[in-house]
């Protein structure tokens, strides 16, 4: 396919004639066939263990599924323990909302501060010690303190998740910005880019692959943190259910709640991966 006008340059310019790649869905199909085998293996081991162990220690996945089904919309058992008219679903919604609000707000702050402090030395001198202290002191130690300060309200858990996400993302964003080759910013500057152009057209897209990788790790930790904060004390949430059901030795209910959190976390992680794949399709 030689076009007139490209002259001697055309063999280099066009490369080989364009061919459609074998469709990407082929790889996806393989992915979908392989991935469930791990899940099946996990369930098999679980079932065998459940047969060996007494029901007060472990119950089968089937028993867990039944418990989940019966308690998802309304769980009279939880009402007895003072969680009000509720079911696993409503509690999960509370937990998910806290995770998302904390993650989104905290990460947004963290990413902006991280990128900015990577380029502005004075800001870095202020940010680094703060991140050092907050990042080194285990967050879980701060959880009871937050509970004392703000009481048993949703804000306490959101603050914990948000604060943690912010600190993590400052670290990820700083490192991502340090890894963007300075030649891109120089080139942008030489072509007349304002600081805003440099931020939005160079620094943010250039750091995005690493930042999204960091966000995945932060999201995974946020679930654990939120659930733990709820166990410690919260007005609602799946963590409260786990705590209550564990106290009364309800293994099936407890495992149902844990599975519910795990499943939601996995789905959100997959969504994030899909988003990251699309956003960084250039890489």
């Amino acid at each position: 396919m030689t076009e007139p006008g490209t002259g001697a340059a055309s063999p280099l310019a066009g490369g080989a004639p364009e061919q459609r790649r074998p469709a990407a869905w082929g790889r996806w199909l393989a992915h979908f066939l392989v991935a469930p085998s791990g899940v099946l293996l996990f369930l098999a081991v679980w079932t065998i263990l459940a047969i060996e162990l007494p029901p007060s220690r472990l119950v089968s996945p089937y028993a867990v599924a039944v418990d989940l089904w019966n308690n998802f919309l309304r769980s009279p058992r939880l009402e007895v323990f003072g969680l009000g008219r509720t079911g696993y679903g409503a509690l999960l919604l509370y937990t998910t909302r806290n995770v998302l609000v904390g993650l989104v707000v905290g990460s947004a702050v963290g990413i902006v501060v991280g990128i900015a402090s990577a380029r502005l030395r004075p800001l870095r001198l202020i940010v680094d010690p703060i991140v050092l202290v907050l990042g080194t002191v285990p967050v879980l130690v701060a959880a009871p303190l937050f509970l004392l300060w703000f009481g048993v309200v949703p804000f306490t858990q959101v603050l914990l998740v948000g604060g943690y996400s912010a600190v993590m993302m400052v670290i990820f964003a700083q490192r991502a910005a340090a890894n963007v080759d300075p030649v891109y910013e120089k080139s942008a500057m030489a072509r007349g880019a304002s600081w805003r152009d440099r931020l939005f057209l160079v620094l943010i897209p250039g750091t995005l692959p690493e930042i999204l990788g960091g966000l995945r790790i932060t999201l995974a930790s946020a679930w654990g943190l939120e659930t733990f904060a709820e166990i410690l004390g919260a007005p609602s949430g799946i963590g409260q259910a786990i705590k209550t059901l564990t106290n009364v030795n309800n293994v099936a209910g407890m495992l149902a709640c844990v599975s519910l959190v795990a499943l939601t976390a996995i789905i959100m992680d997959m969504l994030l991966v899909a988003l990251a794949r699309w956003v960084t399709r250039w890489a």
Binding site: E3, A190, W282
Partner: protein, 256 residues
């Protein structure tokens, strides 16, 4: 006394640059460089590795603010980068996260040109460098030579009067390099821009330049007009005058 004076595009007066390394040692990268480049000249800056070519170019580009001496571009002192100077960097600086046409249109975008118009200009320039087939490709899908073409298209699309190029074809194979030299020469002839082109390759300098500056240890040691007719075929460079210039330049960069 009446003098008809053409304005100089770049004028450098007693320029010195000292770098301080992180370990505290100091390097004098440029020493008392004075130079005047007229509008429309194609000047090659020739010199061996580490002798200050990039530093000289970066000062003119406005990327090294802490120099001593006087550096002016189109009469104005250089303090920062500006749209009157386009730069092609020694390193590949094509943004991997933008499609080819968006890379070429970047300068136009930040200057506020509306999208349809800047994409039209970008495609025109992709055509000029022989890349009309790949406007929507990602840079990772291109070869090194194709990315070098994208960089060339990008600066010409922004249409700065002065072009600063730092060994833009340094990493390319011989044939590709020759092709891109021809592309650059035809763009230069068509637009009449002032070009400052850094290279360590004597033959490249002789093929392109109307004038060659040799930099050695941070000083200008030779300033030679290349009075060979364009376009310069291999035969034209093998004439007695061509060979004489070649020997002179090789001598100054430390050979023969």
């Amino acid at each position: 006394m009446l003098m008809v004076e053409t304005q100089s595009a770049v004028s450098i007066d007693r320029l010195s640059v000292v770098f301080e390394r992180d370990d505290g040692t100091r390097v004098q990268a440029l020493r008392d460089v004075s130079l005047d480049i007229g509008e429309g000249e194609f000047v090659c800056v020739l010199g061996r590795s580490g002798h200050g070519k990039t530093t000289l170019l970066n000062v003119v580009a406005g990327l090294i603010p802490s120099y001593s001496g006087d550096v002016r571009v189109l009469g104005k002192p250089v303090k920062a980068p500006g749209v009157d100077r386009g730069v092609i960097f020694q390193k590949d600086a094509v943004f991997p996260w933008m499609r080819v046409e968006d890379n070429v249109a970047f300068g136009l975008r930040v200057s506020g040109m509306p999208k349809p118009e800047r994409l039209r200009v970008a495609r025109e320039h992709l055509d000029l460098v022989g890349l009309r087939n790949v406007p929507r490709a990602w840079p990772r899908e291109l070869s090194g030579g194709m990315r070098a073409r994208v960089a060339v298209a990008g600066v010409f699309a922004s249409d700065p009067p002065i072009l600063l190029a730092d060994e833009p074809f340094g990493a390319l194979d011989y044939v590709t390099r020759r092709q891109l030299q021809d592309v650059l020469l035809s763009l230069w002839e068509r637009t009449g821009k002032t070009i400052m082109f850094v290279t360590h390759d004597v033959d490249e300098a002789l093929r392109l330049a109307t004038r060659v500056i040799v930099v050695s240890n941070g000083s200008v040691v030779e300033d030679q007009a290349v009075d060979l007719p364009m376009p310069r075929s291999d035969d034209a460079l093998a004439t007695p005058r061509g060979l004489e210039l070649r020997h002179l330049l090789l001598h100054h960069i430390g050979l023969e």
